[in-house]
Amino acid sequence: MIESSLKQLSAALAARQVSAVELAGEFLARAKQYNGELNAYITLDEQKTLSEAHDADVRRADGTAGPLTGIPVAHKDIFCQEGWLTTCGSKMLGNFVSPYSAHVIEQCRAAGLVTLGRTNMDEFAMGSSNENSAFGPVKNPWDKNAVPGGSSGGSAVAVAARLAPIATGTDTGGSIRQPAAFCGVTGIKPTYGVVSRFGMIAYASSLDQGGPFAKSAEDCALLLNVMAGFDERDATSLQREREDYSRDLERPLAGLRIGLPREYFADGLAGDVAAAIDAAIAEYKKLGAQIVEVSLPNTRLAIPSYYVIAPAEASSNLSRFDGVRYGHRAADFDGLVGMYEQTRAEGFGWEVKRRILTGTYVLSHGYYDAYYLQAQKIRRIIANDFQAAFRDCDLIAGPVAPTTAWNLGEKSDDPVAMYLADIYTLGVNLAGLPGMSVPAGFGADGRPVGLQLIGNYFDEARLLNAAHRFQQATDWHLKAPAL
């Protein structure tokens, strides 16, 4: 069952070839077997999972089931889930059992998806390697010396290692697309506002967006159908008609104009990654797509812009973690200020502290105009660049990351080198566009390469269509790592 698509699992559940309890049991067994070495899950709770699976079987029996009822899902530990430990990868929330559920969780539960567990992540979603988790790094199943990418590394690995058929994630600067690429799975970050942020622990509010991981574009479409939807509890949630993201999967690609931004293929792109992307582009030509060159001239500026805006918002978003009401509180402290200082010194890891300090600095009196306002201007320019490019093409294609997954520890002491690796993903978040990562082969080191597809606003169905047709013609997405 572990290689089955959601359609196959749905059919098997409907035909009573397998029960939800059996299905959950099979994935739980794998998760328990391999989590020790991969560290993909922070929390596994067999009893809770089986209880949810049992409920799903009841729904299957009494006729109240939907098509996905009984299918297991792994949730990134950033979505608050009632009754579950919700740590966000931080010691600060190491003891936090959420009293309420995120909109994404509510929708998954309403669809009858069964929670397999809570996946590891970079602390508060800050990181590109999953080495910043307070619960230890996640290992890449293709090569356990390699990072899985971040921040949703646990979710990417859970799907790649077949410890879950599907998983939820969030993407603030590439946190779905980059780990999907590093782990050889499919992931999509929707248009900002499509998935509610209610109950999704905020890193950078204007950039954060939830989305699915799966083995295929088709499965991503089905999970996105569950995750998306208007939510009045999130003022940035967009009030739009519900749509079926799988509706256009089979549409032929003849005439589709795919734009290649020349800046995404310039210096800094590793040769083996470039070769894999070129091969994927050649495949699209065979499928009838037209390839055009476009330009995103301010691509390089996305890095400084992002690393001002995201820390600025984070420095404020993370102020609530003060030890007063929940979460970690230092055992020993002197006075109120001492409590704050000691609690936050102990509760946050280095990368989180670095970004809080950066964010506090750029918002400070006298620096706001030079940094924050300037970064917002660049943000608008970058969004305009994308709109200019979309006048000449329907989709943009390129690499997700300049290299395949690097080694654990390789960039830990060089945060700037790590930031630079986000160059192809940040612009999509700054502009609020949808983007996805599709498995496109392997690098010289045998580690996966991801093809990035970027669409215009609300073009998720078209992105998934392009990815699906590619996956019909190739088998990169079917490759699984040997454990």
Binding site: C80, Y100, Y372
Partner: protein, 475 residues
């Protein structure tokens, strides 16, 4: 040296919405600590604010009532600082683009009218409360108040005395309670003032350095605090000292202001637009909807009272001091009372008694209809004015009607000249001295004789008839 005082006010008014400004939790006062808190108010991870449109309605009402500009687009910003009763570590407020800009409030000090210009009014959320009670040496936090909607109303520094500042605060108070956006309960903190005070030598153009007196919640304290602060500033300068910008607190027990924090300790609040809340966009329809629901404003009502009821301007101003008082007046007239008599009685005996009892018109035990009945009995000469005062007192105490009291106590005025004539003759016989004086040309002696007739009739005689008869008999 002669000093000029410069004062500006920042007033926090709690808006009367049933739920909080960014959460569905109730705003009711006095519940058990931390029982009126949604995930947003505790600032749980992942909680998000959503604008309560009812709070926006009230801000628009205020803007329209003071003739201000209601901005079609305003922006919420985060004001960042750490404090235990500020659960998110930031307050959602408005900074660069507030919802209301400009506008005016008229004040009246000792009969002199002055117009105070307003700078702005912006929406923001209240903080929770720190409870320093018996918590085994710890501090308790109650987040029930966290997220209560506030409209912070900022004036220009245009007041020049404590009296003007108090008049402004009172006028503002009267307006926000009149239009119903604030319940005006100052004890519960629904109307709190921060007062910026500076002094400068008379004739100097530049302002002096100001100090801000925080959180005054009574008009008396505003007056006392300003007087104390002004005196302190003048003495400090005259003693060769310099005023440093600071935030101070007023201690009602000592009557002094004391430093809370200096400029050096001032927070850098790191304001930036709140990414959780899109800009607040208000279209013409929204403004028109609010405008149509706006009650008649005090100034318009005064003019209408003068026109409609033919009462003097002084009466109209007094009667429109509150919406409830104006309503009481209109109900009294509507129940048939003469407009001027009704005004006299309400501004006179009714207000005096309420003042003595420290009550307002809403607590008046004599209904408008009952007062109208009393006035009717004066007009139809059933009782005279003096008796009416006693009847009102009895109505106040017993709740009985005018007619029941007149009947029970036999107070019906005697207008029959036959019955009064007998009393007049007795009085003339019993007061030869007064009679003599009157005949000698002392008109005042006649008043004394009328008084004797009234006394002998136990107040029931119609004094006009008594006077007429006395004049006849002594002619």
């Amino acid at each position: 040296m002669k000093w000029e005082v410069v004062i500006g006010l920042e007033v926090h008014t709690q808006l009367t919405t049933s739920s909080k400004i960014f959460s569905p939790a109730s705003t009711a006062f006095g519940a058990e600590p931390n029982t009126q808190t949604a995930v947003v108010d505790i600032a749980l991870p992942g909680a998000l604010p959503v604008m309560n449109r009812a709070a926006v309605d009230k801000a628009i009402q205020f803007g329209l009532a003071i003739g201000a500009r209601v901005n079609r687009k305003s922006v919420f910003a985060r004001k960042n600082y750490f404090y235990p009763d500020l659960p998110k570590g930031y307050q959602i407020s408005q900074f660069e683009l507030p919802i209301v800009e400009g506008g005016q409030i008229a004040i009246n000090v000792d009969g002199v009218e002055k117009v105070i210009n307003l700078t702005r009014a912006h929406l923001e959320e209240d903080a929770g409360k720190s409870l320093h009670g018996d918590y085994h040496g710890a501090t308790g936090i109650d987040l029930n108040r966290a997220g209560t909607p506030l409209l912070e109303i900022v004036s220009e520094p245009e007041m020049r005395s404590a009296a003007e500042a108090v008049a402004y605060a009172k006028a503002l108070y009267s307006l926000v309670t009149w239009i119903g956006i604030c319940d005006g309960n100052m004890q519960e903190g629904s109307f709190r003032c921060d007062v910026n005070v500076s002094v400068r030598p008379e004739g100097q153009a530049e302002f002096g350095t100001r100090r801000e007196i925080k959180n005054l919640n009574s008009f008396r304290f505003i007056e006392q605090a300003i007087r104390a602060e002004v005196q302190w500033q003048i003495e400090t300068i005259e003693d060769g000292g310099k005023i440093e910008q600071a935030t101070v607190l007023f201690d009602p027990d000592t009557g002094e202001t004391r430093m809370m924090r200096s400029k050096e300790d001032a927070h850098d609040y790191r304001y930036f637009p709140d990414p959780d809340l899109p800009p607040l966009v208000i279209d013409e329809d929204w403004i028109e909807r609010v405008r149509n629901a706006l009650p008649e404003l005090p100034h318009d009502m005064q003019q209408r009272f003068e026109r409609q009821y033919g009462i003097p301007a002084y009466d109209a101003v007094t009667l429109t001091a509150s919406k409830a008082l104006a309503g009481y007046y209109e109900a009294t007239v509507a129940a048939g009372a003469d407009a001027k008599l009704a005004s006299n009685w309400i501004m006179g005996d009714i207000s005096a008694t309420l003042n003595r009892e420290e009550q307002d018109i809403t607590a008046c035990p004599v209904s408008a209809a009952a007062l109208a009945a009393l006035i009717g009995r004066i007009a139809d000469k059933t009782i005279n004015n003096k008796t009416a005062k006693d009847v009102l007192k009895k109505m106040w105490e017993s709740g009985d009607s005018t007619d029941a009291i007149i009947e029970r106590d036999g107070l019906k005025q005697e207008s029959d000249s036959g019955a009064i004539e007998a009393i007049v003759l007795e009085v003339i016989a019993a007061n030869p001295k007064s009679v003599e004086e009157y005949r000698a040309g002392k008109e005042k002696a006649l008043n004394s004789l009328v008084g004797q007739v009234m006394k002998a009739s136990r107040g029931k005689a119609d004094p006009a008839v008594a006077l007429e008869l006395l004049k006849q008999k002594l002619a």
